[in-house]
């Protein structure tokens, strides 16, 4: 799957985009976020406050229980502040 990071999450994590093979047992957005937090302090810092994290799958806002499948485009970002 393709992961995208925006705004201060991108800054903290230090990358805008990466390819990731969906790890075994990761079935939804919440599980993916837990998996990512376990990758190290940058991820833990960026994703630690759930209230400040939003997720879109295939360019549509989703909740934590949204199921994931290989090939999804998953974007992770802070609440929008546009305009």
């Amino acid at each position: 799957m393709k992961l995208l990071y925006f705004a201060h999450l991108r800054t903290k994590i230090g990358t805008a985009e990466e390819q990731l093979d969906l790890p075994p047992g990761i079935g939804d957005v919440a599980a993916l976020l837990e998996f990512l937090k376990g990758r190290g302090p940058k991820f833990a810092d960026a994703l630690g406050n759930r209230k400040a994290v939003r997720v879109a799958v295939n360019q549509t806002y989703v909740g934590w229980d949204h199921p994931l499948k290989p090939g999804d485009e998953v974007a992770i970002f802070p609440p929008v502040t546009g305009g």
Binding site: A7, H8, A56, V80, T81, G82, G83
Partner: protein
């Protein structure tokens, strides 16, 4: 019609093009968002808007379609810029045209409220202490939530 672009836009020309030949239009409400040189008590020298190419356009199209569904609009337009901007620069234009003014005003305000709270744009401001990402504003959420209380 929606456009997401780095370039500035010409408000008069856009409104003119939106309404040309449509003589059933009685009024066009519009809103131009400009970059302020202050935020709270901080002085801002520049701002960079990041967006999510693809999703941003989809969201704007969805929001515009929702406005068209709720109000009897004859024409509508959303232009939103991204990239680096300076104080006084135009950021966003929303224009809605209808036979009567109430529909135009309400739908224009509806679109602006949603743009501020739902469209995938993130603002980084350059202050005397350096660049900082802006946190979401609860008052904007309150403005947008008006439209779901019906």
């Amino acid at each position: 019609m929606i456009r997401v672009q780095p370039e500035d836009f010409d408000v008069g020309a856009e409104i003119e093009a939106l309404t040309r030949g449509k003589t059933g239009i009685g009024g066009v409400a519009s809103f131009v968002g400009l970059m302020r040189d202050v935020a709270g008590d901080k002085s801002i020298s520049a701002m960079t808007l990041e967006h999510y190419p693809g999703m941003t356009e989809r969201e704007l199209e969805r929001i515009e379609a929702e406005a068209q569904r709720r109000w009897p609009l004859i024409a509508s337009l959303v232009i939103h810029r991204y990239g680096r901007m300076l104080p006084g620069d135009r950021i966003v234009l929303v224009a809605t045209a209808s036979a009567h003014r109430a529909a135009a005003f309400e739908s224009c305000e509806f679109l602006m409220d949603y743009l501020k709270t739902k469209a995938p744009f993130w603002k980084q401001e350059e202050t005397p202490e350096g660049a900082r990402w802006v946190a979401a504003d609860a008052s904007d959420d309150a403005a947008a939530s008006r439209w779901t209380k019906e």
